[in-house]
Symmetry: C2
Subunit: 428 residues, 2 copies
Amino acid sequence: MSDVLRLGIAGLGTVGVGVIRIIQNQAERLEMRTGKKIVVTAVSARSKAKDRGVDLSSYAWEDDPVELAKRDDVDLFVELMGGSEGAAKEAIEAAIATGKDVVTANKALLAIHGQAIAEAAEDAGICVRYEAAVAGGIPVIKSLLEGLAGNAISRVMGVMNGTCNYILTRMESAGLPYDVVFEEANQLGYLEADPNLDVGGIDAGHKLAILAAIAFGTQVDFDNVELEGIGSITIDDIHQAADMGYKIKLLGVAQMTGRGLEQRMSPCLVPDTSPLGQLQGGTNMVVLEGDSVGQIVLRGAGAGEGPTASAVMGDVCDLARGVRIATFGQPARTLRKAASARAAVSAPYYLRLQLQDKPGALAKVARALGDNGVSIDRMRQYGQQDLTALVLIVTHKTTQTALDQALEACMETGVVSGTPLALRIESV
Amino acid sequence: MSDVLRLGIAGLGTVGVGVIRIIQNQAERLEMRTGKKIVVTAVSARSKAKDRGVDLSSYAWEDDPVELAKRDDVDLFVELMGGSEGAAKEAIEAAIATGKDVVTANKALLAIHGQAIAEAAEDAGICVRYEAAVAGGIPVIKSLLEGLAGNAISRVMGVMNGTCNYILTRMESAGLPYDVVFEEANQLGYLEADPNLDVGGIDAGHKLAILAAIAFGTQVDFDNVELEGIGSITIDDIHQAADMGYKIKLLGVAQMTGRGLEQRMSPCLVPDTSPLGQLQGGTNMVVLEGDSVGQIVLRGAGAGEGPTASAVMGDVCDLARGVRIATFGQPARTLRKAASARAAVSAPYYLRLQLQDKPGALAKVARALGDNGVSIDRMRQYGQQDLTALVLIVTHKTTQTALDQALEACMETGVVSGTPLALRIESV
């Protein structure tokens, strides 16, 4: 084994530059800790000319990340370009084909092609590490994959999109409507180029799918993550939830049920005294539950140069130290295809409906719910606006199926305006 | 390499039994995840006859843990006896001498003999792992040693003794004095045989010393942990702190300062909205701060069969997977002897004094503080009881040295009864 570990880094955005800064500034500490001199030999990015504030002059330049991945003077390929298809995927495949270990921050790629990549890597004796793909600087992959390896994991939950948590907590603290705070977040540069990746829950859904694969020994299955964004949450919903002792969070939940694997990324109500409920702003939080360990809560910055680069370097140091673990914690070909169980676990729900000003409207809705087995825990009706009245309901525990039928029955009464909102109340 | 990893377990208390339960119940999962069949070949404990609720019949029995550690049919020695001297230490030394890796939950041993053990282990090519020694089920050693390996760590903090946190939060919630809650905790079996290990901060101090060694690349140095227990905290202090927006926690803080390594385990005030401030009951919390990652907060059960056994098994799985990392994250002989800096970092303080009913008493105390450079941010004087008046003061930032001098000057005024209490207000 060489005493030098040579990195090729593809992608010199915020994270790539952060990784180079750590390697340059912490060279001595990294060598002390890993026993290897960690060096960058080559880099690749879109624009060679751009000033990124770090000295790249001693690194070879490749315009094509695939060529970078194939270089003989690269031992470890660090993919920080992003995107589930195209260059990132091809470059990782090239690295595996030419015998290089891979460190990536690419959640979309792993959520969609994780199984194929893990199989190819293991067939070639290659390690693929991806701590930075989930929850930024929080060592959640390591905790789940290694620290809790003695546990049967029962549930994984998390607030894993800082932008959505910023929007929801800012709506509450400033009393501003969704559209205004969305635009604020946009001005601040918090949103992806396609904002739906954030507010539609897709980005966080990718992360949840990756965690679920490790937790349950199943093939990563993003297609079966139920996705619901935060766009329909109103300030009324947030205030109402607060009155009842809850916060609204874009919460990911993955759990193995008798009927299969349930994966949801959706706005949920959580108790305001719980760690998840208390999470403010852009911070991330992941909750891991195992049969022996009970509940572990991990909190930290979910994005940004330093935290994400810290996660990348954790993986790089592991590989430098000779840590070699299967991508998802067990051989990829032993990962099961889990049956997908949508909303298998019953829960109480928060419902928001607009009732038309018709005699007996409330009674009709209450009966429609009751006839479908959805019983009401609490109900509050507000004064009329525009000839409709706002009704907020908390149900007792029910299944999503029963609730869907009940809401359909509500619509058939002809007294409901617009589309009802239903948010799960998650026990955390 | 064999496809079987053979464990010898010394110590069959709560944790040892928990480890055996996991190995028996999760055999298939453990083999899937590690690629090794993890089996127990021999065990050792004080009483062979005792019914521990697990089937030990297929394991060899050793009365002497040293003999267990030396057995040829043991690959990995698991030390769960505890105690910094005697059998635990001798058995670990025997394991190292006969070429076995070691997993231990023994914080006292590592805090006091960690450097010698690490050196002996590394000279022999042996790994010593100890996730269970700090904060129970929380993978804090792994996070710090591996996940944050790319960071220069600036500060490590934590509430790492669940019993103390139970006592402090129970005093507040029930409005009960220390002595009553201490006795409650005793009845509930929460206290060590020597309660001073808990309420004197010794147990938590051991844990802090271990974390500091990893964080700062220094030789573990428990002797220089400033220890202060929770015995002098009154319900008045807790209420007064609450009024000002703080909670009182037995908080460990380790940080590298310009003058050396500062390690403190003492009751501190922390903001009640911070994760540390919100921590209730027997739960543990560790805060890790690094130059890249920012602040990471880890929360979970700090004790108990399941959580501690989970941590032990995380280490066992790592070794089964071939993960081999230096005990404190870098070669033991490169760990520096850090200068010890007591209270090098200035902070605001909370002071409690009993003033005698003499004219100008308050003015005398205020002048004694001011003359020694300690300026007052807030002060509150309460009505007389037993001819003394309670005075509570929050100072501006000051050093421990200035404060000690100022308190001495206060005593010299002759108007102070009893011993003043000074608690640091920690910025978290």
